[in-house]
Amino acid sequence: MKFECGDLDRALEVSELMPEAREHLKQCAACRREYRLWNEISTTARQLHEAWDSPALWPKIRSVLQAEPKPERTPAWRKQWKVWAVAATLLVGIGLLLLPRLQEAISTPDTPNVAGTSSPADRDFLTEQALRDVQRTETAYRQSIEKLSQLAQPKLADRSSALAANYKEKLLLIDSAISETRSNLDHNRFNVRLQTELADLYREKQQTLQELLTRDQKN
């Protein structure tokens, strides 16, 4: 069989064809470029892959399964409802007392409590509430982007398209920046600049995926 450029994709899947592919690569610059790109993407993809242990997951499932057939028992908190009712009433009271202060903290979170230091006009740090909102939004964003990524996969998998290669490169670049920013955020969660940067990166990734999908529809 005479090995041609079109056979490269199959050779990447069927290892028996690789010796012929290597011979062909020695003479074909275009295929060498494609092969190098494929290798780079594979390497980067492996680096991006994350795995983690969840030792608590199976015991949790098992305990839920074991608990299921048992007859329903009155939960302990129902027996102690009087205690919780008093505590909840007190919490509402405390909440009402703290609310104005909390609102103030959210609206002007930058006011330093050290005399003699100037307060910057821009917001530098998030409040707890703002952080929770940001994290909730981020989760929604990530889910939406994940869906878009899945939709874009067939288009991105087209190795013969220069456009797909470009988008793939851009998405890798954005993913690497997201990873770097998240790593910084792990130690600096309330830092507004880092949170804004992460949001911008997510937005850019979303726009890139949308652009790719729209372009696909136009073509």
Binding site: A87, L102, T117, D124, E128, L173, N191
Partner: protein, 493 residues
């Protein structure tokens, strides 16, 4: 019961206290004398840097250390552990930010946030080197070489003198008013350069690049973003892909290599080479020679010093007002040329060729496409399966066609201008001035030969062959057809 309520309240209070946050700000100020010629080096991350200059010889460091934590003590404790290291040596003054490895307690690990914001005032003649990340950098008034790198924060550099290297990622770079060569590298961030009295080199991708008033040439390599250059000079070299390139008012020779994007060049004082694929090419007012190489592109332009050479396929070409002639090689695309001062050589297929006001010889090679020309100093045309209409040709006419009509109007006067036309399965019609002077040899099959001119005929007369003389018979006219009629007519008759 009371003990249980107390325990619950304790938990609730603990939860409430976990939501409260306090901020602490510490200022760092130091003034250091810098040895003449020594450079200033700042290594930093997480925070903006603003650099100003002054004529004095000392460096003034002002840093604002900001920390947010669950309580004031924790914030203060962490802020106190952030170090600003100042290390003077004979050749440079180093300023480094050192953040604590870990906050003091595990519980506080996720609860502390921080950054440091710098304001430096340095001697204006001190070379500057900055390494930053996750922060904006602005530098004003440096009168020495600079090397500035940051990421995830805008980089602004202005009013400087010296050789500058500026680098960023995921944020913009703006450089204005530098006397000296400037190199800018960015990724995923726009670049905006203006008023550079030196050469400019820009490397970027996935973002737009804008350059204005660059004095001594520019080299731009971008991808996946637009490039716009205005009012600049020197040697221009622009490479791009998946984005448009626009150049306006360029004083020098310009080369643009683009792909999958439009190229537009106007007011180029020197020569221009404009290449692209899958994108339009537009030009106007290119003072010297112009070369365009494209694929699947529309090419349109006017006014070039010429000569103009175009290579294209699968797209129309429309050019006018070109000095020193044009040479166009296209395929599957219509070609239109007008007001050409010099010859016009056009090659295409499966599309119409139109030419008007050609002050030289018009040469057309076409396939399966018509040719329509008017006012040319001679025409040599070859095509098939389409008509050829030539009007007001003042020079020689030579047409080879197949399965298509030919109509030619000659305005030749004075010197001998031969007329040679051949076609098949369609008619030949030639219009001549009343004082035309030709030796006519016309032959056809399955058609008639007709003429308005009085002819002196030699040999035998037949419907499909004619040999004779019009006027003085000074010049040769050969008309050959198959399955079509031939007419030799007087212009205006």
């Amino acid at each position: 019961m009371i003990r249980k309520i107390s325990a619950s309240l304790f938990i609730l209070f603990f939860a409430c206290s976990a939501f409260a946050r306090e901020e602490y700000t510490r200022a760092f100020d130091q003034t250091i004398s810098l040895r003449p010629g020594a450079r200033v080096f700042l290594e930093h991350r997480l925070g903006d840097i603003a650099v100003h200059t002054h004529p004095q010889g000392d460096v003034i460091v002002h840093a604002q250390i900001r920390v947010s934590a669950s309580d004031t003590n924790e914030a203060k404790s962490f802020a106190d552990r952030i170090q600003i290291l100042i290390e003077p040596s004979s050749s440079q003054l180093s300023i480094r930010t050192r953040y604590p490895e870990r906050p003091s307690s595990f519980l506080g690990f996720h609860n502390i946030s921080y950054f440091v914001r710098y304001e430096l005032t340095i001697p204006e003649t001190a070379p500057l080197d900055i390494r930053n990340s996750f922060g904006a950098v602005s530098v004003t008034g440096l009168k020495a070489d600079g090397d500035i790198t940051t990421s995830h924060g805008d980089l602004e550099f202005r009013d400087a003198r010296g050789t500058q290297h500026l680098q960023n990622a995921f944020a913009a770079i703006r450089v204005t008013n530098n006397t000296g060569d400037t190199t800018v590298e960015n990724s995923n961030g726009a670049v905006n350069a203006a008023d550079i009295a030196g050469a400019l080199t820009i490397r970027d991708r996935f973002a737009n690049v804008t350059a204005a008033r660059i004095a001594k040439g520019l080299t731009i390599a971008n991808s996946n973003g637009g490039v716009e250059v205005t009012d600049s000079g020197g040697l221009g070299n622009i490479r791009n892909s998946f984005g448009n390139v626009t150049v306006r008012s360029f004083r020098g020779d310009l080369t643009v290599n683009n792909s999958n994007g439009k190229v537009e060049a106007t007011n180029v004082d020197g020569s221009a080479e404009l290449n692209t694929t899958f994108g339009e090419v537009r030009f106007s007012d290119v003072k010297r020679q112009l070369s365009i190489r494209a694929n699947n592109s529309r090419i349109e332009g006017a006014r070039a010093g010429g000569p103009l050479a175009i290579q294209n396929s699968f797209g129309p070409v429309n050019v006018s007002e070109i000095q020193n002639g044009v040479r166009i090689q296209s395929g599957n695309g219509e070609v239109s040329v007008a007001n050409i001062h010099g010859g016009a050589n056009v090659k295409t297929s499966f599309a119409l060729v139109q030419a008007t006001d050609i002050a030289g010889l018009l040469e057309v090679e076409n396939n399966n496409g018509g040719v329509r020309a008017s006012r040319a100093r001679g025409a040599t045309v070859r095509t098939s399966f389409a008509p050829v209409i030539l009007d007001a040709i003042s020079g020689a006419v030579q047409v080879e066609n197949q399965n298509g009509a030919v109509e030619a109007t000659s305005t030749a006067q004075g010197a001998c201008q031969p007329v040679m036309i051949r076609t098949s399965f369609s008619s030949i019609r030639v219009h001549l001035l009343p004082d035309a002077s030709y030796r006519v040899a016309a032959r056809t099959s399955f058609g008639k030969i007709r003429t308005d001119f009085p002819l002196t005929v030699s040999g035998s007369l037949s419907n499909d062959e004619l040999n004779g003389v019009i006027g003085g018979g000074r010049c040769e006219m050969r008309l050959t057809d198959n399955n079509g009629g031939i007419e030799i007519l007087k212009s205006g008759a």
